[in-house]
Symmetry: C2
Subunit: 229 residues, 2 copies
DNA sequence: CCGCATTTGTTCGTATGTATC
DNA sequence: GGATACATACGAACAAATGCG
């Protein structure tokens, strides 16, 4: 499960391994890490070495330590943590605009490169949305909606784009979620899903981009409305 | 210049201050930091404390220490470092595509929001390019060209977009630079500059986006050509 | 509320390796 | 090669916060 360290600085090695274990979801966000003593045995290093590795990850924003309590996972990756911190200084609208930029490009690339498998994945998402809409299950609808957008981006086949989009979406989601519980803004709209799907299916770059732009415009208006309250 | 530390962990405070000083360009990338003893006096902390702060920043990718030589600045921010590491795992084309997404959106937003001051800045960049072109000064031309693109993005007035674009450009630039010295690909092209400027001036979103797309397509072809060799 | 075990935080010392002059 | 300074890793002791019975 846990490899013995080899060369390089021991601290770096331990930190890297912990980072990987987090990225690989062995320890998920919110989870409490095993106490120092256990980790010392597993990694077979001294307490100081382990503590320094942990401290590095704390500074990077991946972990958070609490005296007497334990160490918990805060972010899934260094990029994630850095983006979170950075995005916090930005406004929601700025984040939204960047997300639009990424998704628009992704939709165009998806239209060019989509495989049959991508189309099947998208159809599954659309059906999930319909299902949630029929059941009036808002939570499922939102998560299915997000999944649909992510699947579009995934079809772009550009990992960097996918990772950046993931972060923009996460921040936006946690923001929207706070207000969604008070008053659901989305009346289970899903027309755009089908239109965008068709555009990607027909490999029509321009209209794919247009639908994303349209969808985003609606979301933007909603957020502006929320912010004004 | 350098504030005395207050509360929190001393290490965190020192690390934060160093981080800020780097972000504020007090120490630029490539610069060598003052020797430990000087920093100890300036921050008024113990050697161990300072060393730990430096180590945290090394792990974050902002600094690099070399025994006997000293510590040098590697990145301008944590986001920068995290993106660099992430981008390294991506291909050049993926980076280029993300850059296109960001710049296209930025150009559209610039067309909408540009101020008179933005237009003046852009004109300066264009003139610098012309000048470099006349002098056949490739280095100046490239840096002026990059400056022009950055100025377009800056006119979008979206700080998050600006910061992300900065990173995409940096990586791309260091890549292009390696091959540029061997054989200059760009025959000092600058037609696009003027066209894009006019589109932004006239606040024509669509044609601004189109010019960026066009420009990027040319760059993409060049890079594909390089990669094939 | 107290006392205790658990867990992280801090600081010291020591040994060994390594770069530089 | 020797001397010096620095880096790395380990260990131990004590402090402080937390949670539980």
């Amino acid at each position: 499960m846990i490899l013995k360290t080899n060369r390089k600085s021991l601290v770096e090695q331990v930190a890297e391994q912990i980072e990987q274990l987090i990225e690989q979801k062995h320890w998920k966000v919110g989870d409490k890490l095993p106490p120092e003593m256990e980790l010392i045995e597993e990694f077979d290093v001294s307490r100081n070495t382990l503590r320094e590795a942990v401290r590095a990850l704390v500074h990077a924003g991946l972990l958070e330590t609490k005296q007497g309590s334990g160490t918990i996972v805060r972010s899934t990756s260094a990029l994630d943590a850095a983006l979170k911190r950075h995005v916090k200084k930005s406004t929601m609208l700025e984040t939204l605009e960047v997300r639009l930029a990424l998704e628009k490009q992704a939709a165009q690339m998806a239209a060019e490169r989509r495989t049959e498998s991508d189309l099947i994945d998208l159809e599954v998402c659309i059906n999930n949305c319909k299902e949630a809409s029929a059941k009036k299950d808002l939570e499922q609808f939102i998560s299915s909606d997000i999944q649909f957008h992510k699947t579009v981006v995934a079809a772009s086949n550009n990992q960097l784009l996918i990772d950046l989009y993931e972060n923009m979406t996460e921040v936006l989601f946690s923001f929207v979620q706070d207000f969604m519980t008070i008053e659901p803004l989305f009346p289970f709209e899903q027309g755009i899903h089908l239109e965008l799907f068709k555009a990607i299916q027909k490999q029509n770059k321009e209209s794919a981009a247009a639908y994303v732009e349209n969808d985003m415009e609606v979301l933007k208006e909603s957020i502006i409305k929320i912010l004004k309250e």
